[in-house]
């Protein structure tokens, strides 16, 4: 067992102070130490994008980061985007456009798209497809996801 390190990290606005092994992945820390199981793990080699979270506002693969690297930083997971009764416009658009089926990859798409739409309030279809090209979905064929992003952009501009 290796030494433990302190991690003081703000996740979804709450400060957590934990001691972890340096090798613990951020994805495992979020899911199993903090119980934030909305972040899903699909490949653990940085390809599928399901585990994407926001690190100081930027999308990162939480399976490719160690928990200790977040010390002193802010992390946002899918749980921090909106509540069941108060969905984020992107979550609402995914619902309306049927942009999810099994829903396993969905949190990673949502966290990828939040900063994307903040930076690109009126994206072209090509820009949307580029933005989600690092997220794999086996259920939807992506078409409804693209439509959801267009719908969300529209809602957020209004």
């Amino acid at each position: 067992m290796s030494d433990l390190f302190n991690v003081n990290v703000t996740v979804n606005g709450t400060l957590y102070e934990r001691e972890v092994e340096p090798r613990i992945l951020l994805s495992d820390f979020l899911r199993h130490d903090l119980g934030l199981t909305g972040t899903h793990v699909g490949c653990e080699h940085g390809v599928c994008g399901a585990c994407t979270v926001l690190f100081d506002g930027n999308p990162v693969r939480s399976c490719l980061m160690f928990a200790v690297q977040t010390n002193g930083h802010e992390v946002t997971t899918v749980e921090g985007l909106g509540d069941i009764d108060d969905l984020h416009p992107i979550q609402q658009a995914f619902w309306e456009a049927h942009a999810l089926q099994c829903g396993f990859c969905t949190p990673g798409f949502l966290t990828t798209l939040v900063p994307f739409l903040e930076e690109n309030p009126d994206p072209s279809e090509e820009e949307i497809r580029n933005a989600i090209s690092g997220n794999l979905c086996r259920c939807t064929g992506y078409q409804h996801i693209v439509e959801a992003v267009q719908l969300a952009a529209e809602k957020m501009r209004a």
Partner: protein, 790 residues
């Protein structure tokens, strides 16, 4: 038929939880005291295990237990066979060889589990797994299907004389007579290869044996929780009531999660009982490639017999089917291939000879399509070659041979995966073809656009492919529906759900009968404590079989509601209507009572009831079809090939489906889109590359390429026509696999058409840009590069 809820684009009940990270998946289960398992898996595809050294692992801090097959003692036993060979088929040979929880004496494929390490965390379990030493004596490896059946081949199973797993012959009419009458015989050989299902969620099992209550609870990423419960109870010597299996939200299934029993499904509950601790095992992606089932490898030698005017008289198909190292799933896949190799065509003489072959590769079980894509690929390739030989327009040849509408129900006389004769229940195929033809602008493309684009030096091609999908097979499913005093409706069914939208589409069926909002219907699916009869979600059967059971149960509850309301409102039943959660008198809407109040009245706390009264507004019903319901559809695409990179751009993609009654068009479109994405992967990007040693060379998502948003067509245009199935009251037919089934056939047709000037003849699938380049280079050697750059 006009419906208020069925057939409407209603957004899904289950989505808010999924969108906010609140839905429970197996890996989210966390129980105090839970231990974690990592496996030592075989590096070799075929080897004798000489020695396993586990002492260092056992001493590793944090390790609680280490198990090999030997350590399991008398409790080591292979898994049960899932399905037996078709009993109605004469002369079938089936050699049942089953997987075991941990390899004993010998390993049969790379990735087979040999040692289970149980530790306080997964990290520790994996550390300790590195300290296990296995000594192997490597054996010759069986990979290639044709070589496997050769006289000098090494054998996968020492106790068999050959690698024959199964043999079955099916026929209709007499192919030899058809052959003698034919003007044209075409003979071809095809090679199809394996692809992986790649659900985004890997598999996982959490088992919790509670010693005090003597109860076993299992969370399992299975498509078939009830058979898992029953089998687990039998293996562990428990009563079925002592075992509860929960298949919570699953991150995609696509077939392999219907395999049973995976070694881990046998082992993890057993470990929990042994150690009296909750145990979790979650598969990682590399394990998923090696330890989860896959399919599609077959070699076909095919002959088609036609008349000069394009009438198909007969088809003969001799094929080898890769079943991997074991065959617990029986013959579902090759039976589907046999059922689909004559497609939607009226072919009176068929001879289909299937040989299933053991190889040193992971077990083969259905992946979305389940042997159907192979059958469709074969017949559609033969149609293309025949059209070319006859100088006929390819679509005209197909139309000429379609089963006519008056021929339904149509008997294929081939035994299907349900071990019954395949009867196509209903259909009207030509209008579907015509609609697809019109939507894609087939005639205009051929006559105007393609010549114009070709003149500009563009390699554009069109494919149009009709296909059938057998769906909705038995044996049965059941549903229980109960109206609560709150007026909300509970629905429980045994099938699991993996993203198909059952929480919503089944709720729509209930709402139609009970007049409640879809959002007021809550479904529990895949929890054996809630409903314990049924078989599972596979074979595009959920909507047809469980959906029909839902209709039956909802109709029974409606009957109870009307009977009680008639008394309370003192009005004949036929004058009552169910709307907006109340029962009201049709002409006097203020005379009404809510369903919730009725539910309370139906469950009195005191006082006498009439003899025979059942409490509550609740009913359980079942549906078991004698035959399945067969969907029909057409896919059409226009593609452009970049002659420098061999990359493909989809210019148009059309599907037209006739799946009978559509429950929810939004969900249907999603199913089609997703199926097409898998089909495109199967066509041009996804192939499992096994080397001659049985090692998978692309066992990661960085190397095994599933399609991203870039490889997909920008729009898949989905059209519908409706021929209701007469075999169920909903009139519906399954559609879960339809998106994937004809894609490789259609894509190959379009590709050949785009590269028409090279006279390419494609006899294999999947392709890839590299492979296409090789095919063209082999064909034209000196001229291709120059031609392409013109």
């Amino acid at each position: 038929m006009t419906y208020k809820f069925i057939g409407k684009r209603i957004k899904r009940n289950e989505d808010p939880r999924l969108l906010t990270g609140q839905a429970l998946f197996v890996d989210d289960v966390d129980i105090p005291g839970m231990l974690h398992v990592a496996f030592v898996r075989s590096d070799y595809a075929h080897a004798r295990i000489l020695n396993i050294e586990t002492e260092a692992a056992r001493q590793h801090p944090g390790v609680v237990a280490v198990y090999t097959a030997e350590d399991m003692g008398d409790e080591w036993a292979p898994g049960p066979p899932l399905v037996s060979p078709p009993p109605t088929l004469a002369g079938v040979i089936f050699n049942s060889r089953r997987q075991s929880p941990l390899a004993k004496g010998k390993v049969y494929h790379a990735g087979e589990a040999i040692v289970a390490i149980v530790a306080e965390s997964r990290y520790i379990a994996e550390d300790a797994a590195d300290e296990v030493r296995v000594d192997y004596e490597p054996l010759p490896v069986v990979v290639d299907l044709e070589k496997a059946m050769g006289p000098d081949s090494p054998r996968v199973h020492d106790d068999l004389d050959t690698n024959l797993a199964a043999h079955m012959f099916q026929k209709k009419g007499d192919y030899e007579v058809a052959r003698a009458q034919a003007d044209l015989i075409i003979k071809k050989k095809f090679f199809l290869d394996r692809g992986a299902a790649v659900a985004m969620e890997n598999r996982g099992v959490v088992a919790h044996w509670d010693e005090k209550s003597q109860q076993m609870t299992i969370w399992d990423t299975t498509q078939a929780p009830i058979p898992i419960r029953n089998g687990t109870a039998a293996r562990l010597g428990l009563s079925q009531k002592q075992v509860r299996v929960i298949a919570p939200f699953l991150g995609g299934g696509f077939g392999p999660k219907a395999m049973m029993f995976y070694p881990e499904e046998m082992l993890i509950p057993w470990l929990s009982m042994k150690l009296c601790r909750p145990i979790k095992w979650i598969e990682d992606r590399r394990e998923n490639f090696y330890a989860t089932t896959s399919e599609r490898q077959q070699v076909h030698e095919v002959e088609i017999a036609l008349t000069n005017d394009g009438r198909v008289l007969g088809l003969k198909d001799d094929f080898l089917h890769d079943t991997g190292a074991f065959d617990p799933y029986g013959l579902t896949i090759p039976l589907n291939t046999q059922c689909h190799v004559t497609g939607p065509y009226d072919i009176q003489n068929i001879a289909s000879n299937c040989t299933a072959v053991f190889t040193n590769k992971p077990i083969v079980t259905p992946v979305r399509g389940a042997g159907r894509p192979q059958g469709v690929f074969i017949i559609e390739r033969m149609m293309d070659f025949a059209a070319r030989e006859l100088g006929m327009e390819p679509l005209e040849l197909r139309v000429k041979n379609l089963i006519p509408p008056e021929a339904f129900p149509y008997d294929k006389e081939i035994i299907d995966q349900a071990f019954a004769k395949l009867i196509l229940d209903s259909g009207n195929y030509l209008p579907v073809v015509e609609k697809a033809r019109e939507m894609i602008g087939y005639d205009q493309f051929i006559k105007e656009e393609q010549p114009r684009l070709r003149a500009e030096g563009k390699f554009v091609g069109i494919g149009i492919t009709p296909f059938i999908e057998t769906t909705g097979v038995g044996p049965y499913e059941g549903v229980r529906i109960q109206i609560e005093p709150s007026g909300k409706v509970n629905v429980a069914t045994g099938i699991g759900t993996q993203g198909q939208g059952h929480f919503t589409s089944f709720a729509q069926i209930v709402s139609e009968q009970l007049g409640v909002a879809v959002s007021d219907v809550s479904l529990v699916s895949g929890d054996t404590a809630e409903f314990h009869w049924g078989t599972g979600t596979f074979a595009s059967r959920g909507a047809v079989v469980a959906g029909s059971a839902t209709l039956a149960a909802a109709t029974s509850v409606r009957t109870k509601v009307l009977k009680l309301a008639s008394k309370v409102l003192e009005t004949p039943e036929e004058e009552l209507e169910l709307e907006d959660g109340v029962v009201r008198v049709a002409d006097l809407p203020h005379r009404s009572i809510s369903l919730g109040e009725l539910a309370a009245l139906a469950n009195p706390l005191r006082g006498a009831v009439e003899p025979g009264t059942e409490p509550g507004l609740e009913a359980t019903d079942y549906f078991g079809p004698a035959y399945g319901a067969t969907s029909f559809g057409v896919h059409a695409m226009i593609i452009e090939v970049d002659p420098e990179t061999m990359m493909i751009e989809f210019k148009r993609y059309i599907t037209v489906e006739d799946c009978g009654t559509v429950l929810n068009p939004l969900i249907l479109e999603g199913q089609i889109h997703g199926g097409v994405s898998m089909g495109i992967g199967n066509s041009y990007y996804e192939k499992m590359h096994w080397d001659e040693n049985g090692q998978l060379l692309n066992a990661s998502l960085a190397d095994y390429l599933i399609v991203t948003a870039h490889e997909m067509p920008n729009r898949i245009e989905v059209g519908h026509l409706e021929t209701r199935s007469p075999f169920n009251k909903l009139g519906t037919k399954g559609v879960g696999e339809a998106g994937a089934i004809p894609v490789t056939a259609c894509f190959t047709q379009a590709l050949e058409n785009a590269l028409e000037e090279y006279h390419l003849e494609i006899l294999e699938s999947p392709l890839s840009p590299n492979r296409l380049y090789e095919l063209l280079r082999n064909l034209t050697m000196s001229t291709y590069g120059r031609e392409a750059r013109k």
